[in-house]
């Protein structure tokens, strides 16, 4: 490693640390300053949630640009404009890094998210996920109903079917939740594929373990999967769910497993 590469690496550790602090303080500032102000100005809870989601998009866009300009990471979207007109649709993505949700949401004016239990206890994030009206991944009975209500309103719902971040080198599996929701609410799915080279902000590494070269996040918005063929060709919904899940695996994770 040359001297300039070493300096660049140390700089990226610093920049990444700064971004973490910024993310935390941003979350708290939204929770305790911005969102309470909305509570007074917007009585209607649905309107308020949409407003919060819009603010999240703007903040994340700024945050992503901060990460890029500070040099912590670089990122690029392919076909992001496809997301613009998506309505009443699930967005499913693979989950290689900590900031996948941040990247995708920065391009979605409206986006509900299915959020795992741990985040509802995270002090920096719980206020935000609550204000945005995100859906807790908790009771299976209520989950489908919650999701179907949002989708009927024309909302877009982001899910990472892996359930948590991918562990590099380990064969990933997809939980069937996303496929279940798609089949049972008869909703099409938009596929988003994220590739990070070299890997960064993965599950088993700490944020300061930055790679030798600047990580590049390539976010590719792919075509929609139509749900009807899966339902029509299956004798029962549970079988449609299994077929769809296999297909999701092929488009989301199979390319990854081949290259590694």
């Amino acid at each position: 490693m040359s001297l300039s590469e070493k300096i660049n690496k140390i700089w990226r550790i610093f920049a990444t640390g700064f971004c973490f602090v910024l993310f935390g303080t941003g979350g708290l500032a939204l929770t305790f300053i911005v969102f309470p102000l909305l509570t007074f100005s917007l009585e209607n809870s649905k309107k308020r949630e949409l407003k919060v989601q819009k603010i999240i998009q703007r903040s994340f866009y700024l945050f992503c640009e901060t990460m890029r300009i500070s040099g912590a990471i670089d990122y690029k979207f392919a076909d992001a404009e496809k997301l613009k007109n998506d309505q009443n649709c699930l967005i499913v993505a693979n989950h290689p890094s900590l900031i996948d949700y941040v990247l995708i949401t920065s391009r979605l004016g409206q986006c509900d998210c299915l959020v795992k239990q741990a985040i509802w206890h995270n002090p920096f994030m719980k206020g935000v996920v609550k204000s945005a009206g995100y859906i807790p991944n908790k009771d299976p009975e209520n989950l489908l109903e919650d999701c179907s209500k949002r989708l009927e309103d024309g909302n877009v719902l982001l899910i990472f079917p892996e359930g948590t971040r991918t562990t590099p080198g380990k064969k990933s599996t997809l939980q069937r939740g996303a496929a279940q929701i798609a089949v049972k609410t008869e909703t099409d799915l938009r596929i988003v594929h994220i590739k990070v080279t070299p890997s960064f902000l993965t599950k088993e590494k700490k944020w300061y373990q930055v790679p030798d070269s600047r990580p590049f996040f390539h976010v590719e918005v792919k075509d929609k999967i139509s749900i009807q063929p899966f339902i029509e060709e299956s004798s029962s919904p549970s079988i449609a769910v299994r077929k769809l899940n296999k297909h999701l695996y092929d488009v989301l994770l199979a390319p990854e497993q081949k290259t590694e």
């Binding site: 299976p140 009975e141 939980q175 069937r176 939740g177 004798s235 029962s236 549970s238 079988i239 299994r242």
Partner: protein, 85 residues
Amino acid sequence: MTELNKDEIFSQVQGALVELFELDAADIQLETKLYQDLDLDSLDAVDLVVHLQKLTGKKIKPEEFKMVRTVDDVVNSVVELLQEK
């Protein structure tokens, strides 16, 4: 409740699992674990409950079903359900 009835209920449950999830009947024994061996998830379990409710005509409480781990547990809870008046 006699053994014969339990056998009947077992074959009903087995049939339901085969029909709902395209499983192999031979893989479904009393000691088979629903989540590990048959790879069901919590939403599949809800489907199974709905199916069993139709079959028995009785209402199954979701909290009762959360304790269920094996095929034997399912059979036993259906047995109990049918004994209730």
